[in-house]
């Protein structure tokens, strides 16, 4: 069984301060990490691999040269191979172009039985790369998966369904997007960390390797600038403690900071 895990590298949110009043993002510490969703996808793949004798896990990532670090971390976690998709022509990639490139990489790998990605990324959070990739490759897809097993050429998945869960079975090949809270990632083994940089390679594939014409990579979206929501005004609650507590709960719920109805779906 071949599993391909397209991963994304993002700026570590712990090193960023967003100042709404100044309409600026301050980067206190420019450090890049594997997106938590991608890490969960890696974890899901590695668990499946551990359950069987014949399985390979391949991480791929689209990005500039620094993305090499994310792929080596994937190798350290346990992946068998990793490929960096990098080319000057990829720099402006939007979702549609990224889908094209990733699909081309999967084809070059000879297709996949299972493609695992995170439910949504920690920076742009569109949640689209999974479904788009399934569409581009003609694979089945299941999103927001909490539990995953593969048997007899089919993936048995458990996903959120309203306030409960549903079991969905799909024939391979398939794309599965995973819920990060269900697959807390493992720590890489120290020796694999050393080997990831000292012993193993991460090949770089560009346009030519993937048989892509730079002209076909025109993004549909262009970045025009950023806007910030207005700064939050502090709100003061007065009155007897019981009423105030209820008002605070309501306010926090409206701001989606808590979910008193239960469950953490979407967070």
């Amino acid at each position: 069984m071949r599993m391909v895990i397209p991963i994304k590298q993002i700026l570590d949110p712990a090193g960023i301060t967003v100042r709404r009043d100044k309409e600026r993002i301050f980067i206190n510490r420019e450090e890049y990490i594997i997106d938590p969703g991608s890490k969960a996808a890696l974890e899901a793949a590695l668990r499946l691999k551990e359950e069987r004798d014949q399985a390979e896990t391949i991480a791929i990532s689209l990005g500039p040269a620094r993305t090499d670090d994310a792929l080596r971390e994937a190798l350290a976690m346990g992946c068998d191979a990793a490929y960096l998709l990098s080319d000057p022509a990829f720099e402006e990639a939007d979702l549609s172009v990224a889908t094209l490139i990733l699909a081309a990489a999967v084809r070059k790998l000879g297709g996949a039985d299972l493609i695992l990605v995170g439910r949504q990324s920690g920076d742009t959070g569109a949640g689209q790369i999974g479904p788009r990739l399934a569409e581009a490759l003609g694979y089945a897809q299941v999103t927001d998966v909490y539990a995953l097993a593969v048997e007899n050429g089919a993936a048995r998945t458990t996903r959120r369904w309203g306030k409960g869960y549903a079991t969905v079975q799909v024939q391979l090949p398939a794309v599965v997007t995973v819920a990060p809270e269900a697959f807390p990632p493992r720590y890489p083994h120290g020796a694999r960390i050393m080997n990831a940089y000292r012993e193993w390679n991460v090949p770089v594939w560009g346009c030519a390797d993937l048989n892509l014409e730079p002209s076909s990579l025109t993004p549909l979206l262009t970045f025009r600038g950023e806007s910030f929501p207005p700064p939050l005004e502090p709100e003061r609650f007065r009155g007897n403690p019981t009423t105030v507590a209820q008002e605070v709960i309501t306010a926090l719920t409206l701001h989606k900071l808590i979910n008193p109805g239960g469950g953490s779906h979407g967070l």
Binding site: I33, D69, R72, E73, A76, Y187, P188, H189, G190, A191, I193, M194, N195, A196, Y197, R198
Partner: protein
């Protein structure tokens, strides 16, 4: 000159930090209160290769060298000195002695399980009247056929009661003294005659055990002589040298944590209507902390680099231990002062850090001994031997 860490070390540090924050830190106060070794942490650390960081992969190690090992110690030192001590005594001196002086067979038999963390190591040197004065040890080893018979009592042995394998120093020829008369032995702790006496009740590092190890007619096969017969003194001096560098790294971590906590508390605590972070008394304390920490970091990693590249490092390693433990002490002591009554309270971790830190000025050779080692190294080129 390039002071940046290679990328594998950067990734390793990130992994270790996450591990420490989620697995080690939450237990720090618990193991202090319950006065117990964090076996669960050791098991988890072993799975990640953290019980054998400096050793080559062919011996079951991680292949991180001294630099990697110092990163581990620094990160552990930030969150829990007890755990630092357990892993440090196991790796830095227990297994290290076998790595430095063991035969290939000894390494395969003992270093591999130690490095993989399936066995725990310890280092048995100190006795009631022989700590800093290693030559005064009384434990004896007498040849009997293919075995040596060991008798004596070791005290203050970190990990003594949880260890599977202990390196024991014993007198093999009283007439020859330290150089020639002392031999190192690898002792399996399930050998008949090996037993644990009392466990010490300590001020700090209460999450690491400090045991009295009693050897009564313990029969050790002659293959378990570690290093050259009669050269035990050199074996353990070499191991201690390496251990002292990493001990400095643990102190570095402790000092960093003290500084970070002080910055946060000084921002939050208001007196006289303003945060105490606006007070020069506080500025001076945290500025001194930061300056000393930067100096210590440079010293520790330069020493680690000397060790990894096979260069002489005895003076530097002693300096790491001496300077590191005193920097750590000053930093946590200032942090306690900045935190005031909160710092003195057992509800917060500063007092734990303060108690834990205190041992670093004492163990693995008191700071007074480090000063003697450094001075001896400075006078030696002039042909002068310092009497101890």
């Amino acid at each position: 000159m390039d002071f940046s860490f290679p990328k594998e070390y950067q990734l390793f540090r990130r992994m270790v930090r996450e591990f420490c924050e989620s697995e080690v830190k939450p237990l720090a106060k618990v193991i202090d209160r319950e006065h117990r070794v964090p076996h669960e942490t050791i098991r988890k650390a072993a799975k990640l290769g953290l019980m054998g960081v400096p050793f080559p992969q062919k011996y079951g190690g991680m292949g991180g060298g001294e630099i990697g090992y110092c990163i581990l110690m620094e990160e552990l030192g930030r969150v829990c000195t007890s755990t630092t001590t357990v892993i440090g005594a196991h790796t830095g001196i227990g297994a290290m002695a076998i790595y430095l002086d063991g035969t290939e067979e000894q390494k395969q038999k003992y270093l591999v399980p130690l490095a993989q963390g399936t066995a725990i190591g310890a280092f048995g040197l100190t006795e009631a009247q022989a700590g800093s004065d290693a030559a005064a040890i009384k434990t004896t080893a007498v040849r009997d056929g293919n075995h040596y018979v060991l008798n004596g009592t070791k005290i203050f042995i970190t990990n003594g009661d949880i260890a599977d394998i202990i390196t024991i120093m014993a007198v093999t020829d009283p007439s020859l003294g330290a150089y020639g008369g002392i031999t190192a032995f690898i002792v399996e702790t399930d050998t008949p005659g090996f037993s644990i006496g009392s466990l010490e009740n300590k001020m700090g590092i209460r999450g690491s055990s400090t045991a009295e190890c009693v050897l009564q007619d313990v029969r050790v096969p002659k293959e378990n002589v570690l290093g050259q017969f009669g050269a035990g003194f050199l074996t353990f001096m070499k191991a201690l040298d390496v251990g002292r560098a990493s001990l400095g790294a643990g102190c570095l971590g402790g000092a960093e944590a003290a500084l970070e906590a002080s910055i946060q508390w000084a921002r939050a605590r208001e007196q006289f209507g303003v945060p105490i972070a606006t007070k020069q008394a506080v500025h001076f304390m945290i500025a001194d902390m930061a300056a000393e920490i930067e100096a210590l970091r440079a010293l520790v990693y330069r020493t680690a680099w000397l060790i990894d590249t096979g260069q002489p490092h005895i003076l530097e390693a002693s300096a790491c231990k001496l300077f590191g433990s005193e920097v750590a002490h000053r930093c946590i002591n200032r942090a306690l002062q900045i935190h005031g009554a909160l710092g003195y309270s057992r509800d917060y971790w500063i007092e734990l850090g303060w108690r834990d830190q205190r041992i670093t000025e004492i163990y693995e050779g008191t700071n007074e001994i480090q000063r003697i080692v450094i001075a001896a190294n400075l006078f030696r080129p002039y042909g002068m031997r310092i009497p101890t």
